[in-house]
Subunit: 320 residues, 2 copies
C-alpha cells in the first residue's frame, strides 16, 4: 500500500450528490479506501451503494445534511441542481439552488470543522467560447450559459472562503464525463442519450452537423482525479479534468455505433446557441500537479459504459 | 450641439439607484441632456433632484419598478445593496439582494423592450489582488470579497442576456469614486469619511500604514463615462473607469489636509484582510473606445467635494 493510500485511510469523507452519476462511481471507489464514508443524496441510495452509510435529504435544506457533515474532514460537492439547458430557462432558480445553497453548505462546513471541499465544476461550460484550444485554467472564463456562470461563482466563493476562513478547497473543471450510472433521462450527457437510442434502434437527434467537438472523459478517470485532489498539496486549486483530446459528435456517434455493433440513424436539428463549437481542456496542470492522467481510451470507456447499460437493461427486463 | 448630444436627446432613460451617490450626480447631469429621465430610488428624492420624475420602491421587488421601466430604452443600474465589508459578513444576503435582484431586473428589462443596460461594476474589488498594475480589463478577475464576486457574476449574466436575448449592455468597472453626494455614513468610501472627520477635527482611522494604493476618480468623470457608454458602439462592453493613476492613503490624507487647511490626526489600525495592497486601473480601453478620459485632478476634485460638504453642513446648521 502506498503512502497516499494510508493518508486516505484516515480521511472521513462525505460525498454530496452521492446518488448521482459521478457520486455513485466515486462512492464505489472510496468505500474501500477511506476511513469513513457518508453519502448524502436526494433519494434512497442506488442498489450498488447499499453498503454506504447514507443520509437522505434536500441539499437546499442545511438541516438535512448536518448528520452527513458531522465528523467529516473532507467533503466532495457534486450537487448540481440544473443542466446547461435548464439553467438558462430559469436563471434565478439556478442561482438559488446552486450558488445560494452552496453558500449555506460552506457555512455548515466551517461550523463542522471540515478541512477541505472538493467541488466538481464544469470544464465544458465555464470557459464559454474560448479562442485557445486546448484551454488552460489560466484562460479568462466567459461562460455563455447560466450553468457556467453559477459554477464559476461557486469557484469564486470557494476561493473567498479559503481566503477569509481558511477552508481549503480544490475545484475540478470536469469536461464531458461518461460511463456507468450516467442517466439519459436526467440530461446528463450525450453518451448515455445516444447509447440508449442506439440500443433501442431509434434515431438520435443531432444539433447541427455533428462537427461540434467535445472533450469526453471516462468517469473512473474523473473519480481518480477527485481522489488525487483530496490529498493534493500544491499551489494550484483549480484543475481541468478532461480526456486529453477532443472528438467531434460524428466521431462519437461512429464509436458508439461500433461499440453497439449496429448503424445509428440520425435526425439533424438546428445548432443550439448555447453550444460552443469546440471545447477541449488543457489538462497539463492536473498531470503535473496531481500526478493524474486519463487512462481510458474512448473506445474502451464506451465498451464499459455499454456493458453497464446492458446490465441495467437486463435487470429491468429479467423475470421476477 | 454635437451629434452625440442629439442622439442622447432621444434617449428615454431610467436610473436605478438614482438617489445614491453616483445616481444623484448622474441625474443632475442627465436631466438637461436626455429626452426623458426617470429616477428610481429606495427613498424620496434628495432635494437636488426635486425636478426629476421619481418612482420610489425596493429594488428587490420587481413590481415596484415597473412604472420606472415603462417606455425606457436605456437604463442605468447603480443599485448596490451592500458594501465590500458587509457583503463578506452575509454573502447570502449579498447574492440575494444583488445577483438575484438583478436577474429579476433583467427579466423586467426584456419585457419592457429596454435596448441597453449600463451597469456600474466595481473596478476596486473585481480583480482581487492583481499582479499587473495598472490592471487591464483582460486580466482574469479573482475577487477576494463577496462584493466583487457578485459584481462579477452580474457582469456575466449581462453578457448572457445579450448572448441569449439580445439585450445590449455596458459594464463600467469604476475605481474609487468620490465627490458630492458621497455619504460617509453609508460606508461609500474613504474620501467622504476622512473629510467629515477632518472637518470635525476628529482623528481618522487608517487600516495599516497608509501605503495602500487606490485609484480615486472624481464622480463627474464617472458620470461622463456612463453617458459615453450609453451611446457607445464598438466591440468592447466592459470598461475600466478610474483616475488614471494611483494614490497612497498617505497621499490622499495629505491632499485632504491641504484642501481642508488643517492637519489631520490619525490612529492606525491593523491592515484588513479584504484590502488589496495596490489597486490601479488601466483605463486605456475607455480612452480609446469611449473617447473618455478623467479630467479632474485629485486636488481639484477634493476641493469641489469639500465645497459640497460645507454646503450640506451649512444647511444642517442654518437657523430655520
Amino acid at each position: 500500500m502506498t503512502v497516499k493510500s494510508s493518508a486516505l485511510l484516515q480521511t472521513r469523507c462525505a460525498v454530496f450528490g452521492a446518488g448521482g452519476f459521478i457520486g455513485a462511481n466515486l462512492c464505489l471507489a472510496l468505500q474501500e479506501r477511506v476511513g469513513r464514508l457518508v453519502g448524502f443524496g436526494r433519494r434512497a441510495p442506488p442498489d450498488a451503494l447499499q453498503n454506504v452509510e447514507w443520509v437522505q435529504g434536500d441539499f437546499a435544506d442545511p438541516d438535512a445534511y448536518d448528520a452527513a457533515l458531522a465528523g467529516a474532514n473532507a467533503v466532495i460537492h457534486l450537487v448540481g441542481a440544473s443542466t446547461p439547458a435548464s439553467a438558462n430557462t430559469d436563471m434565478i432558480a439556478d442561482v438559488m439552488n446552486n450558488v445560494v445553497a452552496t453558500l449555506h453548505f460552506l457555512d455548515a462546513c466551517r461550523r463542522h470543522g471540515v478541512q477541505r471541499v472538493i467541488f466538481v465544476s464544469s470544464g465544458g461550460t465555464i470557459y464559454g467560447v474560448p479562442d485557445v484550444i486546448p484551454t488552460p485554467e489560466t484562460y479568462t472564463p466567459e461562460p455563455i450559459t447560466a450553468y457556467g456562470v453559477s459554477k464559476l461563482a461557486i469557484e469564486r466563493y470557494l476561493s473567498l472562503y479559503r481566503h477569509l476562513h481558511g477552508l481549503e478547497y480544490r475545484a475540478l473543471r470536469v469536461a464531458n464525463p461518461y460511463g456507468p450510472f450516467q442517466s439519459a433521462a436526467k440530461g446528463q450527457g450525450v453518451v448515455a442519450a445516444f447509447m440508449d437510442k442506439a440500443l433501442a434502434g431509434q434515431p438520435i437527434e443531432v444539433w447541427g452537423d455533428g462537427s461540434v467537438v467535445r472533450d469526453y472523459v471516462y468517469v473512473a478517470d474523473v473519480v481518480e482525479a477527485i481522489i488525487a485532489a483530496m490529498s493534493h498539496d500544491g499551489p494550484s486549486r483549480v484543475f481541468n479534468i478532461g480526456g486529453g483530446r477532443g472528438h467531434s459528435l460524428n466521431e462519437l456517434i461512429g464509436a458508439i455505433s461500433e461499440a453497439v455493433g449496429r448503424p445509428i440513424q440520425r435526425t439533424e436539428k438546428a445548432a443550439r446557441i448555447i453550444d460552443a463549437p469546440r471545447s477541449v481542456l488543457d489538462i497539463s496542470r492536473a498531470q503535473a500537479e496531481l500526478g493524474w492522467t486519463p487512462r481510458t481510451e474512448l473506445s474502451d470507456g464506451l465498451a464499459r459504459a455499454l456493458a453497464w447499460r446492458l446490465g441495467e437493461l437486463a435487470k429491468v427486463t429479467a423475470p421476477v
